[in-house]
Symmetry: C2
Subunit: 109 residues, 2 copies
């Protein structure tokens, strides 16, 4: 990536990161990695209140990360953008690398 990113693009990227910067939203996304879930399912699985889950689902959907499907009384959400898992993976790898280096430094002192 040698591109010269404009401020506008960086703003959009920041917005995307902001959406992913909430533990509960990450938990929701991670849960949905197991496939489509209803709001009730999610509410139980992520152990949060229903209004709170609904609010975060809206944020994730507005960001284009989730797909919404209504069936009768229930609403089902699923992952619309798989790139988020790549992002999490890259972050996890970087964090592991960092911890490994810190451990190395500690061992030498």
């Amino acid at each position: 990536m040698k591109t010269n990113l404009s401020n506008e693009v960086l703003n959009l990227v920041a917005v995307r990161f902001k959406v992913l910067a909430e533990p509960l939203r990450l938990r929701i996304l991670h849960t949905l990695q197991g496939g489509e879930k209803s709001v009730t399912d999610l509410t139980e699985m992520v152990e949060a209140s229903q209004p709170n889950v609904s609010k975060h689902l809206k944020i994730l959907q507005d960001a284009g990360l989730l797909h919404r499907r209504q069936n009768g009384n229930a609403v089902y959400y699923s992952i619309a953008d798989e790139s988020i898992f790549t992002l999490c993976e890259v972050v996890c790898d970087a964090l592991q690398e960092r911890l490994k280096n810190q451990a190395k430094i500690l061992a030498f002192e």
Copy 2:
């Protein structure tokens, strides 16, 4: 990534995303992609106040993203974790993909 991420790990990932969720910090990182810069240089290049830049530099350094080198009166910062550029790239690609699909949908309606 089929791993079952614990809440603790997701919290750490969220923290990392939070660090990257500020336009000014992204601008600083992007500027540093051109190589090590002093605080004064950065302050001019990202067009922000010196105290503000210093504050964000501290946040980025605490997160392990930047390396700090002091030479006399000046302090030089450089990228310590290249993975951030991968992250930005993945986000940019996803945003482009999304826009492309939206354009396609508009064209058919």
